[in-house]
């Protein structure tokens, strides 16, 4: 099934890209490399393009493939990252590295202020789907914009080695207000809500018990209501620099509260070189059923690091180079509006987790 999805997507991309060479649109390709101190490695190539269609419609397609390598369970000192979804790795062949592929495709069709998109992801034990509709409207001579969206998701989980099929349903709504505050300042504020029902645990993860003779599997509640408020402010300085500031407050009915602060500082070094420095701080409280070690069987139990209280920092540097100067004339002049970029970020948290993230990108603007 996974291979079929990859083949269909690759064919669709190739088919769609060929007429795009002459179009006045964008193609981008990215390669992500992620590694952490548990030994998990994720390599993710991704491609995206946007194309104008007849009648004022615009079509976008994004495809990515994750190649996930999770180390032997016995070698892991820190609780491992869940690969790319909550499905993680099965316990079988615990002394061997576990490799799996995950493919993801997002197709978007938009016209004027309306858009509809479909998301599909597939891996050995998890299929995720989500349909989204979104709209936005300008007011006050385009100084104000109000946007809203609704998404419906339905996932199927088929744990490896376990004879059961599980489902998860998700409803998401979002309202966003964007406001120009001055000639150099713009703000965005909004709220997101999500209601999830169905299986929300990791089918392979065991819970730490005081009595080592009992090894229960994680069991999270089947319903979850989640909400977030966010505020963003971008300001441009005279010195060809800009500061983007973001804050998010999150709460859910599992009693997790979190605060996130995110800052990007941009500096134009030359007309065609842009440098971005980044810092992100994140802190959260524990869920109401989280315990380091359980003393007895309870209705809800978790071994999930995402359920504990912790804080995390992320530092990053990105360099973007516009090919314009290099390719103004000659055979490659059609790439003149394109950019290449490289990014490095380091993430580390108070629960003994560190990760390095590298990303390389090429954006072709025809």
């Amino acid at each position: 099934m996974n291979r079929k999805v990859i083949q269909i997507t690759a064919a669709a991309l190739l088919f769609s890209l060929s007429p795009l060479i002459l179009a006045d649109e964008k193609v981008s390709m990215r390669a992500n490399y992620f590694s952490d101190n548990t030994g998990t490695v994720v390599k993710s190539p991704a491609a995206e393009f946007v194309k104008d269609l007849f009648g004022g419609f615009e079509f976008g397609l994004r495809y990515s493939l994750d190649r996930v390598l999770i180390p032997p369970i016995n070698s892991i000192q820190v609780r491992p990252t869940d690969g790319t979804t909550g499905a993680s790795r099965p316990a079988g062949n615990a002394d061997k590295t576990y490799a799996k592929n995950r493919s993801e495709i997002i197709a978007t069709l938009s016209k004027d202020s309306y858009s509809a998109s479909y998301y599909y992801s597939n891996e050995l034990d998890y299929v995720g789907r989500m349909a989204t509709i979104a709209t936005n409207a300008d007011f006050n001579r385009k100084n104000t914009n109000i946007a809203g969206s609704y998404s419906f998701g339905w996932d199927n989980i088929k744990p490896t080695g376990i004879d059961t099929a599980l489902t998860k349903i998700a409803h998401n709504i979002n309202a966003t207000l964007t406001q120009a505050i001055g000639p150099k300042t713009i703000g965005r504020f909004g709220v997101d809500f999500a209601y999830l029902s169905g299986f929300q645990s990791n089918p392979y993860r065991i819970v730490r018990m005081q009595n080592v003779n009992i090894i229960p599997i994680e069991n999270h509640p089947l319903q979850r209501l989640r909400g977030a408020f966010f505020a963003k402010l971008n300001h441009y300085f005279e010195s060809k620099t800009a500061l983007n500031f973001e804050y998010r407050f999150y709460a859910d009915d599992w009693a997790i509260l979190s605060n996130t602060m995110n800052m990007y500082y941009y500096q134009y070094m030359k007309e065609n070189v842009l440098i971005r420095y980044r810092y992100r701080y994140y802190t959260q409280s524990a869920s109401n059923f989280y315990q380091d070690i359980y003393t007895g069987q309870q209705a809800f139990m978790t071994g999930d690091y995402k359920m504990e209280a912790f804080s995390a920092h992320l530092f990053g540097l990105k360099v973007e180079y516009k090919l314009k100067k290099l390719l103004d004339d000659g055979f490659f002049s059609f790439l003149a509006g394109s950019t290449i970029d490289a990014k490095y970020e380091r993430y580390f948290s108070s629960n003994d987790f560190t990760a390095d993230i590298f990303q390389f990108g090429l954006v072709l603007n025809y």
Partner: protein
Amino acid sequence: MREIFLLSFTGILLIIFGITFNGCVAIKPYERELLADRVMDFDSIDEERVMERHFLETREGSVGGHGGSGGGCACN
């Protein structure tokens, strides 16, 4: 649950605020050059964020707060 109610209330306030005060600031088209720069565009790094969200949601208990697309600077 108290926090969820607070967030709902904030959302309603946000919409009322947007509808009531959207005429208070009016940046003229010729003043929007800097607002149109890509470093001022909230959506310019969406593609990068998709990949990042992927990783963060496997490590952190929170999601959301990214916002839908919209202009507000007459540049979309």
